[in-house]
């Protein structure tokens, strides 16, 4: 284990630096913004300068910047992301309401896409330069290049406006008070289109990566060794090549799971899905600075921590990494 400990320690340190970097950027972006929080909340209203000054004192905006920075960092560290004056509630409460909805949308999409993408990528590599390969390549290219917000619009026009099969907005039917199974089915019905949009994009990404990674593996000499030992082509392909090609795929799966919170902004906006992305959009429209910043910090922290976990897991499994 002596080889692993310094590596993990180094990665922990690196992640800590990144976390501080994210919070610091967040703080200074908001503090170098034109005006201060008091001004952008009450500047437009007819409020006397004395009242504004008093408010600044209450909120600690008259203290030195270094002290404010320290207060902000300790607040964020203890889970206090500030208070949304626009919505009149703590930012963390707003986030807690929205995060699960985003995960409900993203987790099934990414997992479905990873499974499907690996299958498609593998087929494409096994039948390299045949029609099957070209069709999979074309489907991935289209999925990979299609802006999610536009695919969403196309699906809405086809399945909702024209065929009237599926709902287009929100997470559940407005005004309906379904309970139990009926509620679950209602939400699932609302999930179909957004999940389809997200899945296609991720599917394309996974298929492309799997194919490229398999092609690279299949040129390596150990496959020749495996064939010389007399293994069947199927064993060589699935037992050796696919297994080694799965490493970059798993890394990408981890990275996407880490970016889940930030990944669905456009899709959520188009489908009015009440998650993190929709929250970001409405915070921008309402000029709700604390919420926009909190989304940046929370999604950044999620990415950094997921990356850390992936790297540590790999260093335990794969001896090549520690010494690289």
């Amino acid at each position: 284990m002596t080889g692993v400990a310094p590596y993990i320690l180094g990665r922990l340190l690196q992640s800590a630096v990144l976390l501080v970097f994210i919070v610091t950027i967040g703080f200074f972006v908001i503090r170098t913004a034109p005006g201060d929080p008091v001004l952008y909340l009450y500047g437009a209203q007819n409020i006397s300068a004395e009242t504004l000054a008093a408010l600044r004192q209450v909120w600690g905006l008259d203290r030195p910047l270094a002290e404010q920075y320290w207060i902000y960092v300790t607040n964020v560290a203890s889970g206090n992301l500030g208070y949304s004056q626009v919505n009149r509630e703590p930012v963390s409460a707003i986030l807690l309401r929205n995060v699960p909805n985003t995960l409900l949308l993203m987790a099934p999409s990414i997992l479905l896409a990873a499974a499907g993408g690996v299958v498609l990528g593998t087929i494409a590599c096994r039948r390299l330069n045949t029609p099957a390969d070209y069709i999979i390549g074309a489907v991935s290219m289209v999925g990979y290049s299609m802006p999610p917000f536009w695919l969403a619009i196309v699906l809405i026009v086809i399945f909702a406006s024209t065929l009237r099969w599926l709902p287009t907005q929100g997470m559940s039917t407005l005004g309906a008070s379904y309970r139990g199974l009926a509620h679950v089915l209602d939400v699932a019905n609302h999930m179909v289109l957004p999940v389809a949009v997200l899945t296609w994009w991720y599917l394309a990404a996974f298929a492309r990566l799997t194919r490229a990674s398999m092609i690279e593996e299949s040129r390596k000499p150990y496959l020749l060794t495996a064939r010389m030992k007399g293994l069947t082509e199927t064993r060589v392909f699935y037992g050796h090549a696919l297994r080694n090609a799965s490493r970059p795929v798993l890394t990408m799966l981890g990275v996407y799971l880490g970016t889940m919170l930030a990944g669905a902004v456009m899709t959520e906006v188009v489908f009015a899905w009440p998650g993190m992305g929709r929250l970001t959009f409405s915070a921008i429209v309402q000029r709700d600075y604390p919420v926009v910043l909190a989304v940046f910090i929370v999604s950044g922290v999620a990415v950094v921590l997921t990356n850390l976990i992936i790297d540590v897991l790999y260093s335990l499994v794969d001896p090549r990494i520690r010494y690289a």
Binding site: Q14, V17, L18, F21, I22, I25, G26, V29, I30, A33, P34, M141, V142, Y144, S145, M146, P147, F149, W150, I153, V154, I156, V157, A160, S161, T168, I215, E216, R219, T259, A262, V265, M266, V269, V270, T280, F281, I284, V285, Y289, V292, L293, V295, F296, S299, G300, V303, V304, N307
Partner: protein, 281 residues
């Protein structure tokens, strides 16, 4: 260099999809600005023909103010092309300079540059750009700078790795032996040889730049003084069920630009990346 170019062209030419994409992009890049300039299209000209279906007079229909959508799409395409070229150029320049510096001098400066690059590759930069543009300014030039400044790390990584390898090559060592200085070594001997793998990235940088700008203006953090495809999409969103052409065509334009650039990028990658070339030729 001439034979290298000819060699690259020989492989690239056989990538039929990429070749078609290149020709289509060139056609769009010539036609769209020319039409806008020659016809003096006013993208803001309104008419009484509100939400009109696509017709002979208006090939893509009209929007909620009766503005001709085709004219606005052409303006938007020009904006997107500008964004793609500028973002790719900026990211490329920053990546080349920082990557070459890191690989050539090693030591502390290498460490600092590469850690910043790692950081930028991990932090969700779209959210960073979104937040900064939201708080400060959505002006097109500012958005382009923000995107360029966050998109260089991949280029820097590639350039650094190439420089590390090239530095020890015989032709560089012999140039150094006859007295060539650092700058001369860098620009005459090393950088030209790092270009092939980097050039393959340009199309992909441009396509992500275009998509990022479209997404920002879609979210309302764009330049209100510029016609942007993303902004046309958002403002047309509420008409999606009764006038699909209002958000439909701007979205299709983004899709076409992005897919052409991605196809071009794939072809360039095969032609310029020596590891892939062995399999292709």
């Amino acid at each position: 260099m001439h034979s290298v170019l000819a060699d690259v062209w020989r492989v690239f030419r056989r990538q039929r999809a990429a070749l078609a994409a290149l020709l289509a992009l060139l056609a769009i890049a010539v036609a769209s600005p020319s039409v806008v300039i020659l016809s003096q299209l006013d993208p803001e000209a309104i008419s009484v023909d509100v939400l009109g279906r696509p017709s002979l007079a208006h090939a893509m229909g009209t929007d909620y103010l009766g503005r001709d959508i085709l004219g606005r799409v052409l303006h938007g395409v020009n904006t997107s092309l500008l964004v793609g070229a500028a973002v790719a150029g900026l990211a490329l320049t920053i990546g080349l300079v920082l990557g070459a510096t890191a690989g050539f001098y090693r030591g502390a400066i290498d460490h600092v540059i590469m850690r910043v690059a790692d950081g930028l590759m991990i932090v969700p930069t779209f959210f960073l750009v979104l937040t900064v543009a939201f708080i400060f300014s959505g002006r097109l030039a500012f958005v382009i700078v923000l995107l360029g400044v966050t998109m260089w790390p991949q280029i820097a990584r590639i350039v650094r790795a190439e420089v590390l390898a090239l530095k020890e090559e015989a032709f560089v060592l012999s140039a150094r032996a006859v007295g060539a200085g650092d700058v001369r070594l860098m620009f005459r001997q090393i950088l030209p040889n790092t270009l092939p793998p980097v050039v393959a990235m340009i199309a992909l940088l441009a396509s992500s730049g275009i998509l990022a700008e479209a997404s920002l203006s879609f979210l309302g953090v764009g330049d209100p003084n510029v016609v942007s495809l993303g902004q046309m999409l958002t403002s047309g969103l509420e008409y999606v069920t009764n006038a699909w052409w209002v958000p439909g065509f701007p979205g299709a334009a983004i899709f076409v630009l992005v897919i052409l650039l991605n196809m071009l990028g794939d072809g360039l990658n095969v032609a310029l990346n020596p590891r892939l070339r062995r399999g292709a030729s």
